[in-house]
Every structure is written in structure tokens, then in C-alpha cells.
């Protein structure tokens, strides 16, 4: 039989707590560990009010009886409170709550993304954040060129005064005032040092190509030593969406082509793991 938490396990915007452990209790974890298996008159009053952490228990109580069920909608309003609803009414109620909040409850967080083209010391930046922030309205862009200068243009052109390696970052802000995490890219101005170029003696992922991509992209990676490696792909919420490689491979350069299946457009993370060595890379899937 499908439990309600399993029914919504694929929906990251439904939070289901099904036992006391999930939401904490109005008494200490130590007390909980000592007494939760047995009814204890000395402990029971603490469950309803210890004068401090009483909130969740107080409004969950329906006349002091268990079990108790409560729903809270996206506006933090108590939507439903009763005893032990059956599976059917519970799912239909949650479905209607999701319908009410619409995109607000289905969006992935806004994410910054850009690409660039280098011509001498001049770099032209191309903002791709709207692809990575589907559903959001981007209101502002904050660039940091890592040479003491900044810009708020969407697609700035910047000239560096000196050769070197610069970590350029972009943060976007939506019309709701939500800021993205910074997206950072390393830019090399001038002649590359040999040590800056990945060689077969390195470990790690190289930038996928093309990016953004549809329907597939190629990912190159280096292994310093032969051994077991894992390559997984995760979505923006950290959910594993594809186990690409879990195998023994020899040292050197390898590559694979990744084609998303039944996945929505957006940002995805590739993780390369070999022993204690870990590397991660972002890539953008567009439809």
C-alpha cells in the first residue's frame, strides 16, 4: 500500500512529517529517547505545554487526542486540522493546496548563469540566467569582475588592465527580492601557464560542450589514477536524477555523452567521485 509520503516523494514542495521525531518535541531529545516507548504520566504534561516549546503540539492537539493531523498552506495558514484522515481525502486536499499556490510552490530557486567570449583583454559576457531561472522575473544583475570593478548590466563588456586569472561572479535578484547563489567562472586573460591547463595527471571534470544544451552534451574528465569512479547527475534540489557511471576505469582522459530523459529544463550538477577526490560542475539543459 502506498503511504502518503511515498505519493508525494517526487514533489519537493510538499513537506510531510509523520512522526514526532520529524518536528521535534516540547521536551529534550534526551527525555524523548528515554521515554517515548512508554506512556509516562510524569512526561505526558510536557507534551502539551512546558511553557516554552509548546507551539506545534498545542495547535495539533484536537481535544488532547492522538493521532492528529494538520495541514498548513503556502501562506502559513492552518488549512485543516482533524484526526487521522484517510489516504484519499489527504491527497485531494494537498493537491488542491498545490493548485492554489501554483508556480509559487513549483519553482526551482533562481540561479545565475553566464557564458563569455574573450578577445584580447576584453571579455563580452552573455547572461543565460533566464534559462536557469524559469518562472522567475529577474530584476537585477550584480557582476563582480574580480579586478575591483562591478557592473549591473545584463550583458556587460569588460576590459581588463592586466593579464591574469580572474574569478567573475554573477548574482541575480528577482522581483520578489530573492537572490541567487553566485555563479562563478574562471577567466584567463593573457597567455595560459602550463600549470593552468588540465592534463592527464589531473583529476576532475572539464566544462561540458555544448552548454546550454539540447538534447545532449559531452562531458570530459580526467582520472589521475585507475580505480572505481562514480559519476552522478543531480537537479537543483540536490535530488539524484541519473547514475551515469559506477565502474572501474583506467587513468587518463575519458568522456561521455549525457542525454536527459524525462527531465525538465534547468540547471543540473554533475558529480565526479573517486575515493576522496570530488569534482562538481554545473550544466544547463534547455528545451
Amino acid at each position: 500500500m502506498v503511504a502518503i509520503e511515498d505519493w508525494y516523494s517526487e514533489n519537493p514542495n510538499v513537506v510531510i512529517f509523520t512522526n514526532l521525531d520529524d518536528i521535534g518535541q516540547p521536551y529534550s531529545c534526551q527525555q524523548w529517547g528515554d521515554h517515548h516507548q512508554d506512556f509516562n504520566e510524569d512526561i505526558f504534561p510536557l507534551m502539551t505545554d512546558d511553557g516554552n516549546q509548546d507551539v506545534i503540539w498545542s495547535w495539533l492537539q484536537t481535544g488532547g487526542a492522538f493521532p492528529s493531523t494538520a495541514y498548513i498552506d503556502h501562506t502559513m495558514t492552518v488549512y485543516y486540522k482533524a484526526n487521522n484522515p484517510s489516504f484519499g481525502p489527504a491527497t485531494s486536499t494537498i493537491d488542491s493546496m498545490l493548485d492554489e499556490c501554483g508556480d509559487l510552490c513549483t519553482l526551482s530557486p533562481p540561479a545565475a548563469l553566464f557564458d563569455f567570449a574573450i578577445d584580447g583583454n576584453t571579455v563580452t559576457f552573455f547572461d543565460f540566467s533566464e534559462f536557469a531561472s524559469e518562472g522567475w522575473v529577474i530584476e537585477s544583475w550584480d557582476w563582480d569582475f574580480d579586478d575591483g570593478t562591478t557592473s549591473t548590466e545584463q550583458n556587460p563588456v569588460h576590459t581588463y588592465d592586466a593579464d591574469g586569472t580572474y574569478e567573475v561572479s554573477l548574482i541575480i535578484t528577482t522581483d520578489m527580492g530573492i537572490q541567487s547563489e553566485p555563479y562563478i567562472a574562471e577567466i584567463q586573460i593573457g597567455t595560459l601557464e602550463i600549470s593552468d591547463i588540465n592534463s592527464p595527471s589531473d583529476f576532475g571534470l572539464l566544462k561540458n560542450y555544448p552548454n546550454p544544451f539540447n538534447p545532449s552534451t559531452t562531458i570530459d574528465y580526467f582520472m589521475k589514477e585507475s580505480g572505481n569512479i562514480k559519476i552522478n547527475v543531480y537537479d537543483m534540489n540536490g535530488k539524484l536524477v541519473d547514475e551515469v557511471i559506477n565502474d572501474y576505469q583506467i587513468s587518463g582522459q575519458h568522456s561521455f555523452i549525457w542525454s536527459p530523459v524525462n527531465l525538465s529544463s534547468g540547471m543540473y550538477y554533475v558529480n565526479l567521485v573517486q575515493g576522496l577526490n570530488i569534482d562538481q560542475m554545473k550544466m544547463l539543459y534547455v528545451k
Binding site: N13, V14, F17, D22, G33, Q53, M76, P109, P110
Partner: protein, 80 residues
Amino acid sequence: MFFNSFISLILISFSFSLYQVGDQISQNDQDRRFQVCYGGEEHGLEEDHGSYTLALGDYNGYTNDSGIFYVMMIDMAASW
């Protein structure tokens, strides 16, 4: 004995039902953090100084870091 029971009943009655259906959880109560003894990692909670905590405001798009709103179902059964 009767008097003690009466006092206890009054105290417990006052502690029930802070929120009724249609009430909105106050900002103060949304900000209140609860210690999570077990299962914090399974629910994606962040570890802070060796323990997991949870606040209802973590699921409010206006106040959490992601701007994403959530709906919550809290279905609780005691094991005694």
C-alpha cells in the same frame, strides 16, 4: 485531589488550540526553532553545531533562502 485535578484541567485547556483552522501562524512562531532528535538528515535539514533544527518559517517562501513556498502535512501518531 479534586482541586489539583481541576487546576491541571484549566492549565491544559489553556494550552490547547492556539491555532484554529483559518488562523495564520504568527511570524514569531514561524521563527521558533525546534530541535529534531532523529530523521533530520532524511528530511534534508541542515546540521547546525551537531544537531538538526527545524522552524516552520523554513518552508515560507518569503523568509527562506530559496523563495520557494511549500505546503505541509503534519500527521502525528504517538507510539504509546
